[in-house]
């Protein structure tokens, strides 16, 4: 069953330099209990995409085109109150920096009470706290933490709390935007492990947004590679790692540090990401692509399904040849 279907989604920001097209023509589907990893470097539009799925862009941002169908509802045309009910109840989101994701003047327990009662007002405060204690237990934390303030918890604990808050209302979809970037490696492994467990036990669908291919490799069923606001390649995790098609994906895979290798220097991709406030003719990656040829600079490559379930937008694979 398809839970989420995104069609040709474009999001722009108003900036002093003009319109910045952060997300352009993005389409994908997500099935129930499926996990999609969205991978790309900083500024590729992956966080904007995550926020757009909940229609939660900052005031300068707006969706210019496209459709988001979530469990049969069109998210972008929902009324304020309907949208509020989707947020949290149907879809939850956790963010990059757990340090700043909790209200500093509210106790942890009050965060839970507030979230639970926002969607189920007939649940009393005490019952909400009981539910919160159970959730904390599932996350491996003591229910004593409910009376703590956010600043009394470590980063890892706060991220657990964020996950717990996200799951308090049994959502169907969890969007995790760089959930481990601000944490150290040991805590990162714990949080990923927790997400994987919860995915299984709660039958969640998940969208994991990250710049780290290593992380999605462990958790995701499918991977979308984003560059310059577009998805250039989308395939099952195994296919991405075994047979990456898009040159950028191939380069990214080379970048994953390997302790076994002799090389001591860090690999990198020459050049920098494109400026999204000026329109680009042709393929956005052409300026950095090692296989670039003339057509790449003039003609935008179309999405093609090269193999079943493996989609790429690259002139190398559209049969037209050089």
């Amino acid at each position: 069953m398809t839970l989420l279907e995104v069609q040709e989604l474009s999001v722009s920001y108003r900036t002093l330099k003009g319109e910045l097209r952060a997300v352009q023509g993005v389409s994908f589907e997500l099935g129930e209990q499926e996990t999609l990893g969205i991978v790309g470097e900083s500024g590729c539009g992956k966080s904007t995409l995550g926020l757009a799925l909940l229609n939660l862009m900052p005031p300068q941002g707006r969706v210019t085109h496209g459709k988001i169908m979530l469990d049969g509802q069109d998210v972008l045309s929902l009324e304020k109150e309907e949208l509020r009910r989707v947020r949290g109840k149907m879809v939850s989101m956790i963010f990059q920096d757990p340090m700043t994701s909790l209200n500093p003047v509210k106790k942890i327990g009050d965060h839970f009470v507030e979230a639970i009662r926002a969607h189920t007002p007939d649940v009393g405060r005490d019952d909400a706290l009981k539910r919160a204690a159970v959730i904390l237990g599932q996350l491996g934390m003591s229910s004593d933490r409910l009376t703590d303030y956010p600043h009394q918890l470590s980063g890892g604990m706060k991220q657990r709390i964020m996950i717990g808050l996200g799951l308090a209302l049994d959502p169907k979809l969890l969007i995790a935007d760089e959930p481990t970037t601000a944490l150290d490696v040991v805590i990162e492994a714990q949080i990923l492990d927790l997400l994987r467990q919860l995915k299984g036990s709660l039958k969640l669908s998940m969208i994991l947004i990250t710049h780290n291919l290593g992380i999605v490799a462990e958790v995701a069923d499918k991977i979308a590679i984003m560059y310059g606001g577009e998805i250039f390649e989308l395939a099952e995790t195994r296919a991405i790692f075994k047979k990456p098609l898009f040159p950028y994906t191939q380069l990214l895979l080379k970048l994953v540090p390997n302790v076994a290798s002799e090389s001591t220097s860090l690999e990198w991709i020459p050049g920098s990401p494109p400026d999204l406030s000026t329109p680009i003719a042709g393929c956005k990656f052409s300026a950095r692509c090692p296989f670039v040829f003339d057509r790449c600079r003039t003609e935008r490559p179309a999405q093609r399904e090269v193999e079943p379930g493996h989609r790429v937008a690259c002139h190398l694979y559209d049969g037209g040849g050089r």
């Binding site: 900052p58 994701s101 003047v105 509210k106 507030e114």
Partner: protein
Amino acid sequence: MSLKSYIVTRALLTIPTVLLLVTIVFLIVRVLPGDPALLRFGKQVNPAALAAVRHALGLDLPIYTQYYNYIVGIFQGNLGIAFSNEQPVAPQILSAFPATLELTISSMLVAVLVGVVLGVRSSRKYGSAEDTVIRTFGVVVYSIPVFFLGLILIAVFAIGFHILPAGGRISTLVPAGGTFFGVHLQTGLYTIDSLLGGNLGEFADALRHLVLPGTALGLYISAVFLRITRSNMLDTLGQEYVTAAKARGLKERTVLYSYGLRNGLLPVLTIMGLEFAGLLGGAILTETTFAWNGVGTYIVTAINQRDYIAIQGAVVFFGILVAVVSLIVDILYAYLDPRIRY
């Protein structure tokens, strides 16, 4: 640290602050040129009479004894005897204080109300024409000297339209207060006293007298609140915890109040404490403009009469008042922001 031990620590810290303050005031008065005792005399000075006055004022004692007597006096609520009318300073200040307090509270109400409401509005309409108008208003009211704003208000509303009194605190007799839970109370705050006495006409009259001075002083201070509120609200509403709260589907009102305002207005509280001192200073000008018989007027009179003891007493009084207000603000802050306590 618990809230209770925070309060105790913070309260104890007020003692050295106040000691330092009264010491500085003592020293300033002592190093100022001129012998206060000489002020009693004209050009002809009889040395024996001068010595007698110096003795009466305690000025012939060694400086450390004077200091000791002065400090002990303050802790006993004794601020010395004024030169000008040979009356104790403390009771004079205390009897003038309710007028200043009433003015200060009204101005603070106007300032916080205007400043916070406009500040929140302007942050929610960030970058719009309305935002620009509100910010311009802030700059304008802050740039006008408070006595000048006072004079304009008098010219328009008292002399022009005859709808509000130009000065003074009340048109009738001083309200006598009344019984409250079996105790007779006269606070010196005319609005309160007239209510205690059950006289609504008197209350309305006292209130009408407060409008112009309260607005003049309040608008001036409101600019500070406006700017602080606006920038803090902008900052807070852009925080990740606000986005996270929206992502959890909390009601818009909850997000605005318990996430936005609750965090965005914390610094406003600090400013309230600081501006309280500013209000007392501003009261000196406002009280003179509106013929308001408070501590401000008392200080102006004392300065005109070169009454060192009275000036010293009023400064010490204001100083202690500001220290106590800061203490209250800090305690409130710790109560509202759990991070302060640790």
